[in-house]
């Protein structure tokens, strides 16, 4: 129900690409939680998820990137270095 209210409000008040916030915030916070903090996948999933669900996500351990999609949008965040941490790197 809460999701429906937020989505409806988004359509009324926001722009059409606002739902990308969901996958952007998830990938960024998951990436930092996993690669910077070094927490478990489960902790990071719960931690990165905000009030809206994502449809899928993937951890790319070799390239140290996280991808996720939700509401028709995809996002990517990449771990750059110990000092610089993660950043959203959508194309």
């Amino acid at each position: 129900m809460k999701e429906k209210i937020i989505l409806l409000s988004t359509l009324i008040f926001g722009s059409c690409d606002f739902p990308q916030v969901v996958s952007n915030s998830f990938t960024k916070e998951f990436c930092s939680c996993y690669f910077v903090v070094g927490q478990s996948e489960k902790y990071c999933y719960d931690y990165a998820l905000q009030s809206l669900q994502i449809s899928s996500y993937e951890i790319h351990r070799e390239s140290k990137t996280i991808t996720a999609s939700g509401y028709g949008f995809s996002s990517e965040a990449k771990f750059l270095s110990k000092e610089e941490g993660c950043r959203i790197t959508n194309l």
Binding site: I6, S9, T10, F13, G14, D17, F18, Q20, V21, N24, S25, K28, S32, C33, V36, V37, G38, Q39, S40, Y43, Y47, Q50, S51, K82, E83, E84, G85, C86, R87, I88
Partner: protein, 335 residues
Amino acid sequence: MKKILFCLVLLTQTALANFSELDAYLFDQSAKYQTDSVLLWEDGKIIYEKYAHGFNPDQPHLLWSATKSVAATLIALAIKDNQLNLTDKAGKFYPPLRRAQADTISIQHLLNMSSGLEWKETYENDPWTSDVISMLYWKGYQDMAAYTASKKVVHAPGSFFYYSSGETNLLMAVLQGALGADLYKRYPWTHLFEPLGIKSATWEKDSTGNFVGSSYLYLTPRDFLKIGQLYLQNGAWEGKQVLPKDWVKFSTTPAAAAQDESYGAHWYMNTILPKTGQRPYPHAPEDVFLALGHHGQMLFVMPSQKRIFVRFGADKKGSISHDMIFKLIMSGGAK
């Protein structure tokens, strides 16, 4: 290794002996908040320390908005190095602010959250009109300072207080302009973290290379403690005055425009609020000052008690009471 483990066990036992009520409150399994790590330092030693939810002493934790107090410390260091002044206009170092009305915003206005730039600081409860969400994850994530600078000036600079994550990121762009990109790139490490022996730091940047001073610093509790110690020692470290001598006093003096929050230069305090005549934390000492962040990140500096408290959490479902923590800190231990 065995010695370290023994010390950790010992510390926890000390905690339970002296701070059992504080411990029970912080780690209450039935509460909606979640404490990941905590430590309490008193006059040179850690007297209570505990980790949960998979965290250990070597793992950094996100500070969220408690990052702002460290970001302001970078400005202090640059002032000490004569790179800029509080009264300098922000536009001197950051050209997008060289426009009508915005051109009178000073570095002090930004430190005091009084720029007058339009802003809405809400999070998950109001995501679609939130400037923080938009800055971090939507329209502004590539260049957070530009996102903030594009806002209308809706109050005369210096005349109106409104807590804004955008203002801290503007400060970081100002700092980059003052120092130059090369010096700026590792400035937190060369001028703050390395001198203090802080080794756990990660500080994320946006796509322009600007530090996300509003939100994205990661430190271990023991390293965050060192920031508190630096302020407790009035900006001195190992006998050397690292911050300008009057910086801590300035940081903890209420912003002139703040009426309903006890807020200085990127630090919260416990001064009497002009609007209500009350202190924000009735159980806390009057001279305490705090760095606070989303989801329950906290650093309390308690000069009169010579105590520093660090707590990291993930309070997504409910908030913890800062005043209750103060009450339990004040009633625990030998003092």
